[in-house]
Symmetry: C2
Subunit: 229 residues, 2 copies
């Protein structure tokens, strides 16, 4: 059984990615990051999703760098925007962008892949809903795959690493339809950037708005609970 | 004053890199990694070298990933080879190769550069003495620089990141001559892969042999102490 490393954040996108990888016959190896985000509930969700799929090797690696260097509303004291219309997202680089995040995450996935004997990596980047993030663009993924192949033993031996981005051209609604068709365990996932103290999703931040709009557009109901406002 | 991020390991090469960056008029920002190596003495050396150059922002970031995933004599229980002739180095990928290390290190340097307003990164990779490491090859650095520019705000705004590799074509002797000509503080550096309990260099591992041969070829004496064998 071919192995694949799946970047798993416990959110909708990475969970859909894992569902896709499993449906394609890959044995999933999960890699999650604790990069100093405000919400540890994400990591718990990632663990639950991994358990759901019987993941044997789930690497959870702390990264303090993003908090140390700052520069993002997700790791810093910049206020996470609430209540903006979803249409505004993507015009500029959002304040929730974490510098070099996907570059660092994918690089670490390459290390895991090399030592685990995998030459496939799945990442749930999406160029539509997150067009403001430079490291979610297809040209980045393409360039990275080439670089990673050159950087590793796999490349020296004439093979190459494949970076799978099954969601890159999908709208959030299409992602949710895809996941639902594969029975992705969305009830275990977490998306909110600004959860309450009881870990309930706020229903108002960019990430919640995108998620809720996605379920609505797909004609499905979101199985998670939201805080009463 | 333009800023540059210098990957600093406390060894000869990164110290020479910092000397070069400073001589070119860059304000140095240092980035060091605690990636579970056996020898914390490396990090102490990196700190001393940074202090020598008056570095204001020295990021030291722990990375447990390399130890978690294994696959290298530097982070794993594989024995570090001793007493091999230096000529043997580079024929194959050495056991001291850490999968995806430079890929991860450079990616993190990109995050630091982006948040610190730097668009220059210095890394002391060397394609001659370490030809066995896939991620020390010029084609890797070239591919990475392109990828990193695409991945970040700098690239979106039409600029690009520059990865400086002033040592890439130099022999160890030439590196040492270059550093000596710039008064690099080699007395503060550490290279040994297998130091004694008192943190003395063994004088027998690949890294010590390369270092000693480098000083000998340059006609200079190595200012550090070695363990009596």
């Amino acid at each position: 059984m071919k192995k694949a490393v799946i970047l798993s954040s416990g959110g909708l996108d990475s969970t859909t990615c894992m569902a896709v990888a499993v449906s394609q016959g890959f044995e999933p190896i999960a890699l999650s990051f604790d990069y100093g985000q405000r919400h540890q509930v994400e990591l718990q969700a990632a663990q639950k999703v991994g358990d759901h799929y019987g993941v044997k090797n789930h690497f959870v690696t702390p990264i303090s760098l993003f908090r140390d260097i700052g520069g993002s509303a997700l790791t810093d004291d910049i206020e996470v925007p609430k209540g903006e219309s979803v249409g505004d997202i993507g015009d500029d680089i959002p304040v929730t962008y974490v510098p070099a995040r996907n570059l660092v995450f994918l690089s670490m996935a390459v290390g895991v892949a090399e030592t685990q004997g995998a030459s496939d990596i799945f990442i749930g980047v999406n160029a539509l809903d997150y067009s403001g993030y430079p490291d979610c663009r297809p040209e980045f993924i393409e360039a990275f795959a080439k670089t990673a192949s050159i950087a590793t033993k796999v490349g020296v031996e004439g093979d190459s690493l494949t970076i799978h981005t099954p969601l890159i051209d999908l709208t959030k609604a299409q992602i949710i339809e895809l996941g639902a068709s594969l029975d992705a365990p969305y009830h275990l996932t977490h998306s909110c950037y600004a959860p309450t103290e009881a870990d309930e999703s706020c229903g108002q931040c960019d990430s919640c708005l995108l998620r809720l709009k996605g379920f609505a557009d797909a004609g499905l109901s979101d199985p998670i609970e939201y805080a009463k406002s």
